[in-house]
């Protein structure tokens, strides 16, 4: 079991900077994120986009800002649990929470800081009526082990890198691979596109363009997919597996079930210290809401800074906290 002072859920820019402000108060932090690398939206959605409203930086690439934050918090030796979703939160003692992740990692802390941004990124599911009844019965949103598809008839849908790359890999493994895409051009890497075209030419991939999957059929287990080509009447395509690969989209996820006051998909906080309605749990950055809320990285940094002051007083009610400027005291990291 991992022990820390502040358990930060979400390793985006706000979660990362909070490690720094907590570190100045000698509080240790551990971060959990469902994505496999730190940075949140900045890494996942727009790493190459410039940001113009970070004070002191006329322009900074989102990816560079994350790199800089990682460097800035290094002295405070934060712990990271990445690629695991914060799943279950329990109070195990008067002043102690235990978080369990989707992979069973357990982390204990007196204070929880939810810096979850838009929520956790999960595969986009096509809005096909009965798709959830076929999940794990033929429909997979993520490919864990390609061997599962050996000798099977597989239909992949999507037009990005993952749809292309998996079609290429599965062409060697599956009995039949079809790739359905809504137009004729692909946005994936050029050599992947060329490879798919080659495999389509040699008959190893059945490339169905200007088309979309619109329905699923079977009797408890997926047997057919209805495909609509160019607005024509949909036709049935026999398959064993349907793998829709349409990227990731954020969802509030399990956090919504922790007894926190939620309004419009965001956690309601008190702007005094960004505390939630549950003692010891705070919410900072894009995931919180309050009158006048602006979803800006800048505001999240401010929220995290004030939050750790309150967290300190909560953890050590009898200790005096004296505020020190980094220009006076420097940055004294942890051993």
């Amino acid at each position: 079991m991992i022990h820390t002072d502040i358990l930060i859920i979400g390793a985006g820019p706000v979660g990362l900077f909070t490690v720094f402000e907590a570190g100045l108060l000698k509080l240790k932090c551990h971060l959990v994120d469902s994505l496999g690398q730190p940075g949140g939206q900045l890494t996942e959605i727009y790493p190459k986009k410039p940001i113009y409203d970070i004070p002191g930086y006329p322009s900074v690439l989102a990816g560079d800002l994350v790199d800089n934050l990682m460097k800035q918090i290094e002295p405070f030796k934060p712990g990271f649990t990445l690629g695991e979703r914060a799943e279950k939160l329990e109070k195990i003692d008067d002043k102690l929470y235990k978080l369990t992740t989707s992979k069973g990692t357990e982390i204990c802390a007196p204070v929880i800081a939810i810096a979850g941004g838009l929520g956790c990124f999960e595969p986009r599911k096509p809005p096909i009526d009965n798709i959830d009844t076929y999940e794990d019965k033929g429909v997979d949103y993520i490919i864990k082990d390609p061997e599962k598809y050996r000798g099977k008839k597989v239909l992949v849908a999507g037009g990005g890198d993952s749809a292309l790359d998996w079609s290429i890999i599965l062409a060697d493994i599956a009995d039949e691979v079809a790739l359905v895409h809504r137009r004729t051009s692909f946005r994936g890497a050029l050599d992947s596109v060329e490879k798919v075209m080659e495999l389509a030419h040699s008959g190893k991939i059945n490339l169905i363009t200007n088309a979309q999957a619109v329905g699923l059929g079977g009797n408890g287990v997926l047997k057919e997919i209805m495909i609509e080509e160019d607005g024509k009447e949909p036709y049935s395509y026999k398959v064993d597996h349907f793998i829709p690969l349409f990227g990731l989209a954020p969802k509030l996820g399990p956090i919504g079930e922790w007894g926190l006051e939620i309004k419009d998909n965001a956690i309601v906080v008190d702007t005094l210290d960004y505390s939630t309605n549950v003692l010891g749990i705070y919410a900072i950055g894009d995931i919180n809401t309050y009158p006048g809320k602006l979803k800006l990285i800048l505001c999240g940094f401010h929220e995290g800074t004030l939050m750790v002051q309150s967290a300190f007083k909560y953890i050590y009610p009898d200790q005096k906290l004296s505020f020190k400027y980094t220009t006076v005291a420097g940055v004294n990291g942890f051993e």
Partner: protein, 110 residues
């Protein structure tokens, strides 16, 4: 038409029509107009054409600027894309689109 204000109509996912007023002098786009009227448009990325959560269908016969390659690429991540599909964030509010009618596209399964 009032100065700097145009009329647009948004048909929501339940088929209900919402006649809206939109200012042409505030550099707004259709995603932002929908959000300002609390219509269910997510606009996750904030208008960078980096998500597909403001997918809508153009119902009127307005000629809009062509979709950029970025927009086309993002539409690949949307569902039920049709020939009249666009990302709302890429439709700038201007006099030319006065009277525009759009319909919100379905969102992904929960």
């Amino acid at each position: 038409m009032e100065d700097n204000i145009i009329n647009v109509t948004v048909v929501d996912r339940e088929g209900i029509e919402h006649p809206l007023l939109a200012p042409t002098d505030m550099a707004m786009n259709m995603m932002e107009v929908c959000k300002s009227y609390d219509l269910p448009v997510e606009g996750t990325c904030g208008g960078m054409a980096l998500c597909a959560s403001c997918h809508m269908y153009i119902l009127s016969d307005h000629t809009l600027s062509e979709a950029s390659e970025d927009e086309e690429n993002m539409l690949d991540q949307a569902f039920f894309v049709k020939s009249n599909s666009r990302l709302g964030c890429q439709i700038k509010i201007s006099e030319e689109i006065d009277g525009l009618r759009v319909q919100l596209a379905p969102v992904g399964a929960e």
